[in-house]
């Protein structure tokens, strides 16, 4: 019954406890999507807000934010994450926080650069003449011009966040046990690799396919939103 190879009733075989691999993969998809969307969403919203404020006001705020982001980018990411997991203990919330922390600096840099180029346009000056407040200009006039590129970049970055989540789960620092997780499936089944290779092969392939789909989606999105961004 245990470690059964692929058959009509179990398309991808079963694991050491006789559980269907395909069902586990499908159940794992739900939790992965939840974690990644929540993390990237939080990261992007925080990053966009900070980038918008830094780019719009410039000066000292901008300097401080950018030095902070620069410094942040050369931190040993995965180790800091492990320290956070050690202290806060492994849970879905910790995982989402940790992945959001990874994804915010990119958004700051991007939004700030775009804001810098938009804030001196004439329509922004006209909005100011018409008496719009700073907040209104940022939200109604600059944000819509920035949002496309942010969504494209976030989509392109999703693949890496999924890989990071899988790696953390593999290391035992990601999605906590009762929930099914692709990364942990591979780590739990690796000891049976000589007898039942399918138990760790398929979850890995699924991760690779999802990451690839994320990249393709991002590329497609980029071409749709702004054809001038198309790379060779």
């Amino acid at each position: 019954m245990e470690d059964e190879n692929a058959s009509i009733s179990y398309f991808l075989g079963t694991d050491a406890l006789g559980r269907d691999i395909l069902s586990k993969i499908i159940a794992g998809a739900r939790i992965t999507v939840l974690v990644v969307v929540a993390a990237v969403g939080t990261g992007v919203i925080v990053g966009t807000t900070i980038g918008l404020v830094a780019g719009y006001f410039g000066g000292l705020i901008d300097d401080i934010v950018m030095r902070f982001v620069d410094a942040w980018n050369i931190l040993p990411g995965l180790l800091i994450i492990l320290v956070i997991v050690l202290v806060l203990e492994q849970s879905l919330e910790t995982l989402i926080i940790v992945l959001a922390i990874v994804s915010w600096p990119g958004a700051v840099r991007l939004v700030r650069a775009e804001t810098l180029s938009l804030k001196n346009r004439e329509y922004v000056a006209l909005a100011r003449v018409a008496g719009a407040s700073n907040t209104r200009i940022m939200i109604r006039h600059i944000l819509p011009g920035v949002v496309n590129i942010v969504i494209v970049t976030a989509t392109l970055g999703t693949g890496n966040i999924i890989l990071l989540e899988a790696s953390l789960s593999y290391l035992g620092a990601g999605i906590p046990p009762p929930e099914p997780s692709w990364g942990r499936m591979i780590s739990e089944e690796r000891q049976y690799i000589d007898a039942a290779w399918w138990t760790s092969l398929f979850p890995g392939l699924v991760i690779a396919m999802v990451v690839m789909s994320g990249n393709f989606l991002g590329d497609w999105f980029r071409d749709r939103v702004d054809p001038t961004l198309r790379q060779l």
Partner: protein, 311 residues
Amino acid sequence: MGQFIARRVLLGIIALMLAMLIVFSLSRVKGDPRYFFIGEDSLGIDPAVWEEWGRRLNLDKPVPIQFALWMGDILTGDFGDSVTTQRGVLEIIREKAPNTIQLGIIAWLLGTLVGVPLGVFSATNRGNFLDYVLRGFALFGQSVPIFWLALVMIFVFAVNLGWLPSGTKGEGLAIRNFVMPAVALAWFPAASYLRITRTAMLEILDSEFVKFARAKGVAQVPVRWKHAFRNAIIPPLTLSVFVLFGLLNGTIIIETVFAWPGLGRLAIDALWATDYPLLAGLAIIYGAAFVVMILSLDIVYALLDPRIKYN
């Protein structure tokens, strides 16, 4: 140039302070930090020892002072003792570091020496079958989780074919033991180098001066390597920062898969044993190593491309 380097050094110092601040604040967010330093027996502990720990961690002083004193300890090389082994953190790290450094350097060389030439090759053969194969490899290499790749390699080369050992390092520089961990670690960097070199080469090969060199009658090989490649080298070099970053993260995963006795494995063991001082020490040491690597890379970068402005 001097000013440029000074600015980068300053950035490195800020980054290290930030790393220390994060690590320090984390030990204080969940109540009494003593639990992280004493370990499992902190519940039934002798009150005198408990007090003694309070004094050692300066808990009687305000938090900013605690941070300053702690930072002073770190800068003088006192990272405290590991909770599980009761040995000095720095001593443990010094013992394990060579294994990780050897693996990292070999993987980095492998990734660069495979990825960059293949990128050039892919660009100069644009559109033919091999180009598609290489692009497929690059796409796959950047999407596949490396721990899974490592497992597949173990399954094929260690379990089935029995050509290579499935783990641990052994004595000295036994090449056989290095093959699988290094290849698994170099996979992602090679794929990234391939993609970025290909894009850079295509752009340069399309430029006016390359067309002119061709029109002038320069042979194919010198056009590719002397005219095009020398100008296409900056994007892959810029990528090196991210590659090194990825390698440091990768060692943590790969060393766990191959039971490699290095710093990455140490970090995971520390996580499992909730050994806060050891993991915190590792984070700071990795941070310092990273700052040094980025600084040296910046200087190489500035020397190679005089067009870069230092402001």
